[in-house]
């Protein structure tokens, strides 16, 4: 019997599990595969794909304005956690900042790790690409950035990472290469060489793929900013982004080491619900099913993208507990000990397919600590 059973291991699920465990609860996390942090950019947006203030966000999502203090507390708790994980996040949800993406376009985000630096309005930027990395093309990116920042001077250079490979590299592969000191030094030399060739001397902002080291991101960041004498940012885009993988891996390790019991490679296929109260969930293992009992349950299975909701020819279906939902997949009259975190609350919460990192963390926080007016919980009206 667990105190808290979390279903799902995306951002919402992992935060809920870690926080519940941190409160001394016996916690299980049941997951069918990696969560969607893996495909994300690792920066936490307010309203995905568009701009907006915290007040607008609170109106768009089902929050009451008096919850603002709770929202800020949830954010503070998240930031404290990331510091503890050795991968600190910056930013203020009240003041989203512009960051450059892997296409060169600018988007607003609320929370971002140390490897991401907000993009300035002016100055001299250089976009640095790696020849072996098709997902990040510096010329294309620099021109789009130039369009977005007319007052800025934007250049592009391209250097080889110079390691033999038998496959096409991803941003994560490049990040792992940059974990090695000698690769970093070699890259810096090549960048300097290219800058000299192109006669660029005044650059004060360098844009890199989301590849500035995986384990050794801090050293990479330091070595690159010092070596180039400029601010440095990752521009996350095509998955896998190292920005996101670092967060994913650290959260997962934290969950395991703090004693959250992981049920990996399983699927929740239903629940034993009595008088609108869940006693246990049915879990499909490799060869048979078993029941996992708990006092509280957090549904963090995601929306359509995460697999918590499935689009069928007859409409949207909730996949894990087979709850009755409305047309948006929003559970109707959910069990009293079930809390909905992240996109599992229905399609009306998503923008371009996702809820955005800030909603994830706030709803996870709510599912563990509760808010003055339950915002996530069994409700989300």
């Amino acid at each position: 019997m667990y105190d808290v059973v979390v279903i799902g291991q995306g951002l919402s699920g992992m935060l809920a599990a870690i926080w519940a465990r941190g409160e001394g609860k016996r916690t299980a996390m049941i997951m069918s595969g990696a969560g969607k942090i893996m495909q994300s950019t690792g920066v936490l947006d307010l309203i995905p794909g568009s701009r907006g203030t915290l007040d607008e966000w609170m109106k768009q999502y089902p929050f009451h304005s008096e919850n603002k203090a709770d929202v800020l507390q949830a954010v503070a708790k998240f930031k404290a956690l990331t510091r503890e994980l050795g991968y600190p996040y910056n930013g203020d949800v009240r003041e989203p900042v512009p960051v450059v993406t892997g296409s060169g376009h600018i988007k607003e985000t609320a929370l971002y790790p140390d490897t991401v630096t907000p993009v300035p309005d002016r100055g001299h930027a250089v976009v640095v690409g790696f020849q072996e990395l098709p997902d990040f093309q510096p010329l294309f990116i620099s021109k789009n950035l130039q369009k977005e920042r007319p007052l800025m001077t934007v250049d592009a250079i391209r250097i080889p990472l110079g390691e033999d490979s038998q496959r096409v590299l991803t941003q994560l592969d490049a990040a792992r290469l940059l974990d090695q000191k000698e690769v970093r030094a070699r890259c810096l030399r090549r960048i300097s060489g290219q800058l000299a060739d192109k006669g660029i001397s005044q650059a004060d902002f360098f844009v890199f793929p989301s590849s500035l080291g995986n384990e050794a991101w801090a050293q990479t960041l330091k070595q690159f900013s010092e070596g180039l004498g400029a601010r440095v940012t990752e521009a996350p885009g095509m998955p896998p982004n190292a920005t996101a993988i670092r967060l994913n891996d650290r959260l997962k390790l934290k969950a395991i080491r703090s004693g959250v019991r992981l049920y990996a490679d399983t699927t929740v296929t239903g629940a034993d619900i009595e008088k609108n109260h869940i006693r246990s969930v049915r879990v499909r293992m490799a060869n048979r099913a078993t029941d996992v009992a708990g006092r509280q349950f957090v549904l963090a299975t995601g929306g359509i993208l995460g697999g918590g909701l499935e689009v069928t020819p007859d409409g949207i279906r909730e996949t894990a507990l087979h709850l009755n939902t409305d047309g948006d997949g929003r559970p109707m009259n959910p069990p009293d000990n079930l809390f909905l975190a992240g996109a599992s609350g229905g399609r009306q919460l998503t923008r371009h397919g996702i809820v955005g990192g800030v909603y994830s963390l706030v709803s996870s926080y709510a599912s563990v600590f509760g808010l003055r007016k339950t915002v996530a919980g069994g409700m989300a009206k």
Partner: protein, 540 residues
Amino acid sequence: MKKALETEVAVIGGGVTGTGILRDLALRGIKAVLVEQGDLGHGTSTRNHGLLHSGCRYAVRDPEAAVESYQENLILKRTIPGSIEQTGGLFVKVPGDDDAYVRRWLDSCGKLGIPVGEIPLEQAFREEPYLTKEAQAVYQVPDGTIDDFTLLIDVAADAVAHGAALLTYHEVTGIMTEQNHVSGIHVRDTRNGEEQDIYAPIVINAAGPWGMNIAKMAGVPLRIINNKGMLVVFSHRFNKRVINRLRMPGDGDIFVPAHDVTIFGTTGKNTDDPNDFSLNREEMEQMLTTGADLIPEIHQMRLIRAYSGSRPLYQKTAGKGSSGRDVTRGMALLDHGERDGLDGLITITGGKLTTFRLMAERTVDLVCKKLGSDAQCTTREAALPSRKSTDSFSGANLAPAARHKLMNWAGVRTPEFETSLKDREAANVVCECEQVTWAEIDAAIPGDGHLDLGDIRRRTRLGMGPCQGTFCNFRTAALAVEHGKAGTREADCALMRGVKERRKGMGVVATGETAKQLQLMQTIYQVSLGFGNEEEKQHV
């Protein structure tokens, strides 16, 4: 000043019919220019099954079309080996299908000389594990599959190699006439608006579903029924051979393997607008329900997209109320001089992908008669080069799957790719689903500043797999800028256009995994890459 050029024959329409005619003309030494409003095959020719008929399907209903198909089947296997896979086909009788029809069918195939052989059920189930276990009889026939994309490219290339000219992205704006004779066509470049006159004593209307528009410009009456069929693409190739239902041809009874996917169709609904490529979920569901009789798991299998195309069916009498299936699928060759008193204009319509060569032969025979030429058709024997190459690309650092694809794709261009692939970056696989390298994509970009992901797709299979370009469309657009093949604005536009087009085809089939794939695509482009703002800005 307006551009002008002079030729003997102007061919309107860059589908298989038009390009087939262009090649036949060129091989007979007749000067010709083909104009196409979009890319080659942007109409019906790339919106079909890709079935190389053995004739069996028409053996009962239309023996003449059946025998034509069978003969062409044999010719094409020999002359266009690069675009044909000799898969063979199966005709399957399931419970409820008419026994009398089976007898008539066997009888007719026998009379027509189409080789048909029954195979043991056990063997059929072993070879085609998805086939319904309810099947009562399975016959093997010489069906095959045609890659209409490579077919068009190769036929057009051969025509150009023999002196013909090709103008894609040119629409016809008018037909020039002098007294009772056509004298040429007015065309407009759809990309830059430039106009041009093409003077030609003979104009061939091979515009397929758009044929009526051409006739109207020329002022001749023509009634073509555009019978729109919907097809769906499964995420993988689940059958080795073509699987047909052994009954009177109807909706939803053919499964055609096409490289790495299976295509299933089709429906038939008449439409007035040749540009109507709309897709209907209900129509698809009905088709799938029928298809389940042959492939019971059909509702659980992943569909990656749907598309539709119109069969241009000629109707002699311009009467209404025809359903489409009962109008002849045979070809119609109209001499508007004889028929309507406008000499030099010829319409060729109807027919099938399998009989495109024969249509070209008959059309050009008529042209020769008009031009007083005695040049003979050679396309029965003249073969296009194969697309296979052996022992190649060993110098390139290529993934075996990408090499495998190139060995079945590069054909005569093998030396060209052997050279370009020496560059490590060119050997990078950009489209993972279909294993398309940058070298292939690079070679498919025209280099005149125009970038169209659809055009690249038809030439390379880029973005045709299960992820529908989620990853490779972005890579391609960005690489095109990096390599100086396109400007940023062009690339961004091409990308948005490409993503929108893929989304359209996915939308109608978007349940289960494809719904997820669509959301993943949307999230990556709109949120991760920040194109969301871009779209907002464009709307403002």
